[in-house]
Each structure stands twice: as C-alpha cells, then as structure tokens.
Amino acid sequence: MSIFKDSQELDTVMEQLWTKIRQDPEMSKPLLESKLIVTFHYRHPETKLTIDCSNGEDFHIITGENQVKPIIELFMKADIAHDFWLGKVNVPMALLSGKIVSKGPINKALALLPTVKPAFKLYPSIIKDLNIKTHP
C-alpha cells in the first residue's frame, strides 16, 4: 500500500515541496543556473511532475500532463520518492537495483542531488501538516 492515498495527494505534497525549494535561494539559484527541465514520473499512485528551470529566472512547477520537453526524466514508485525526500534512499543502490529509472544525461540528474538535499529537512513538516500517515 502506498503512502499516498491518490494522485491528487501526491501532487499536493510535491507542489508544496517544490514551492518551498523555489522560495529558498540556496536551492533555487543553482537549479535556475542549470536551466534544467526535469520530469518525475511517479506510479502507485500515478502522476507526473515537471520542474522547468529553462528560462533561468523562475522555475515552473507543473503537475500532470504538459507539452514541456524534459532534459531528464526520472521514473519511480511514489514511495521511493517519499523515502528519497526523507533522506532514506541509497541512490546508487536504487539505480543499480532498478528502483529508479533515468532517461537523459544521468550526470545532470546526479548534479541535482546535492542541490536539493536541504529540502530533506522541509519534507517531514509538509507531510505532517497535510496529515499524511506514514509507515513506521
């Protein structure tokens, strides 16, 4: 059973998280400088999230289907995303074991990791505020 009850709940969590990342210059500045467009494809529940930093000035958070062509695409179960934002995923192992699939330049995807790490501290409060019950 997934942490998230449905796609809408997952969308809400990810939108709130990325809005906080956008508001934090420590994280948003390098993301904007990268001009990356990343699409996360989640399953169980299924949804899609695109972070578009391509104009270098502001980044767009788009949930669901859209016409933006991503540079990197990452595919994973929603629970893996949840564990990732809690800082509990061994990313190399997740890649080796096939739990995360990446399309596009993997080096650009990896460059994102240290940039978004400060968000690990923000995520638990989002989950708590939305009253999402997590497994022990």
Partner: protein, 384 residues
C-alpha cells in the same frame, strides 16, 4: 553488511580456441545474418582472418564492420546501426577491446529497436526488454566490458562521455581466450591491466553497494593482477600470465557492475574526454592520489582489502599504495598527467575538469563524498 543486489546475466566461457567454440555453437543455431565488429588493427591479424574465414565457411551471411574507433563514438554507433538494421542482423559478435565491445552494446540497442538515434536511450535502467544476442570476445584484459551492464561512449560534439546502463545491455556470452592477448603491445597490456586493478579496488571500496560476493571477486582479481600483470607485460606470450590477467579482469568487471567504481574513474572519464588519454593509463595516474584522498576518511576499506589481498593481518593501505607504485614502475606506465601528455591546466580548465568529474555517475559510489575543491586538489596532485 549492505543490503545488496548481485546479478550477472552473461555466460562466461574460458577456452584456448575461441574459433572452434563459436563455430561449434553457431552450427547449432539458425542465424541468418550476423554482424561482426572489430577494429582496423585486429582485422589485419591472422587469428581474426582465420575466424572470419571460418564464418564464411559456415555460409552464414556476415556483415563485417572493422573500423570501430578507440573510445566508442556516437557517430560510429549510428553508422554501424544503419548498416545492421538494413541487413536485419540477428546476432552481434564483437571482438576487440572495451571500445569495440561498448560500441557493439550500443549498436545492439539501435538494432533491436530499429532506431538509429542512440541518444534516445541515454540513461539508466531505461531498456524494458531483452536485446538481440551479443557475443563478445575481449582482446584486452582490463575493461570488464564483456560482463558489465554499462557502455560509455564519447559525444564528439560536446567532448563528453555519455553513459548507458541497463541489465539488458550486458552480453549474452563472453568468450575468454588468452591466445588473443599475446600480440597486445606492452603499453596496452599495462594500461588495460591497471584499469582492471582500479575496477577491483574501487568496486571493493564502493561502500554503499559492495557485498561479500563482489568483495571476493575483487580480492581474487587483485591477487591475480598483482601476481601476473608484470609477467604479461615483460613476456607477452606467457599464456599463464595472459589467462590469469584475463580472468582477473572479467572478475573485476562483474564486481564493479554490481557495486560501482569511484573517484578515480570519475576523474579518468573527465580527463579522457577532454584530452583523449587512454582510459586505463589515466586511471593508473589517478589511482594513488585517489586512494590517498579516500584514506583520509575511509582508510579502513583499503586496510581490509590489503589484509585480504596480501594474506597478512598486519597489512594496511600503505602496503596497497606501495604495491601499486611498484607495479606502475615495473610496467612503465606514466605516473603523472603531465607525463601522460596532458597540457598545463589553466584555472578555467581545472574548474571544468573538476566540475565534469563531480557529476560523473562513478562518483556516487565513492566511499567519501567529494566537493569541487577536493577534485581540483586530486587533479593538481596527479599533474606532476
């Protein structure tokens, strides 16, 4: 112990007569068109000519491409793919070093999907189904590409290495024949051998993903390489040395496919893409500086490796470094970037090289986290 996943989907065959083995195997199969890949140097050798003639005798239509370049190149992959798709090849046989084998892996993606745009498949775990059968015959002992799940190619337009990784990418069959190595020049024997040494050391110390299985492979591989690589360089026709280094390379290849590599490979990829230096020789230059850096925080991994490799409870990372240094002297490989032919590095160039290494996929397996300054320092240390 780490949680771990270990897999190896390649059948490994060791033989002293790869031609007989393949011809016998093909005789049992109904292959209508075969793609044979090699490089120009190898295609001129008698052993290859004998192999090609044996295929002709079997009357299997064969598409031969014998101009694979060193460093798998995207443009070459696309050129071969067009040929293979047009001829509807059903089996790929690649005979050569890591570049030939990596090229074959990427051609296999295009051939199977009938899509010559190989960049569409750039990524990790992206392939969703099995590819066409790929048989590989390594002619160097070092890259481990015959059993690995990855392929690295160079995009000439950006001078960057492009990474492809998938369980479906690995070959169906790897045929190890030490007779193919006896004509390998001393420099290539040494450089590819040091690539294997680096695989074994980095796979053992990749503390996020290593396992008792990969550890055992690394230890045995290193024992063989330290014992036999000097002889393989000094006495090229010594079959005992050739077979042991060949098997050691494959063992290290299986190990790093399951646990990863580290900072030495990340730096070698960055330098190699920029200056076209030989991958194994570049690893050799970075190996000691990389170990010394990691030992500041993680010497315990190198200490246990040394205890096991040298069968000495008192051995530690210093013994490992000394052994590598002696090996580099014996096989006469360059010990600095300068002697490898890398021009003096400007500040901007140093920044670019370190930045590229920082986001190289290899670095995520390194036992110690590095920043840009750490990488610049290792490059500068390795320079002179």
């Amino acid at each position: 112990m780490n949680q771990f996943v270990f897999s190896n989907s390649t059948n490994v065959v060791f033989t002293y007569d790869f031609i007989e083995y393949i011809i016998d195997k093909l005789d049992d199969l109904n292959v209508n068109n075969l793609l044979l890949l090699t490089d120009e140097g190898l295609s001129q050798q008698q052993l290859f000519k004998d192999f090609y003639q044996s295929l002709q005798n079997l009357k299997i239509p064969t598409t031969l491409y014998d101009k694979v370049k060193s460093d798998a190149q995207i443009a070459v992959v696309e050129e071969i793919s067009r040929l293979a798709i047009a001829n509807d090849c059903q089996l790929i046989i690649a005979i050569g070093g890591g570049s030939v084998i990596d090229t074959a892996k990427l051609v296999n993606i295009s051939l199977t999907h009938k899509d010559t745009s190989i960049m569409n498949y750039q990524g990790i775990n992206l392939l969703e189904s099995a590819l066409k059968p790929l048989w590989v015959i390594p002619t160097t002992a070092g890259t481990g590409s015959e059993v690995s799940l990855v392929a690295v190619a160079k995009d000439e337009s950006s001078n960057k290495k492009i990474f492809f990784g998938s369980h479906y990418l690995s070959s169906e069959l790897a045929i190890l024949d030490p007779n193919l190595l006896v004509t390998l020049p001393k420099f290539l024997t040494a450089a590819t051998g040091l690539d294997a040494v680096t695989h074994a050391i980095e796979a053992y110390t990749a503390s996020n993903c290593n396992s008792p299985i990969t550890d055992a492979l690394c230890i045995e591989s290193l024992k063989k390489l330290f014992a036999y690589l000097p002889t393989a360089c000094q006495d090229p026709s010594n079959i005992e040395a050739r077979e042991n280094t060949l098997v050691a390379s494959t063992m290290a290849g299986i190990a790093f496919s399951n646990s990863g590599v580290g900072v030495v490979h990340a730096l070698a990829h960055s330098i190699g893409a920029m200056f076209n230096t030989h991958h194994g020789a570049t690893n050799a230059v970075f190996l000691i500086p990389g170990i010394k850096f990691n030992c500041q925080e993680a010497s315990r991994f190198y200490d246990t490796l040394s205890v096991n490799v040298f069968n000495d409870k008192k051995a530690n990372h210093v013994d490992l470094i000394t052994t590598i240094d002696n090996l580099l002297n014996t096989v006469q490989l360059p010990k600095s970037l300068k002697s490898l032919g890398v021009p003096e590095l400007s500040k901007a160039l140093l920044d670019e090289l370190a930045t590229t290494a920082l986001v190289d996929p290899s670095i995520m397996f390194n036992p110690v986290e590095l920043n840009l300054d750490d990488l610049k320092q290792i490059i500068l240390t390795a320079y002179n």
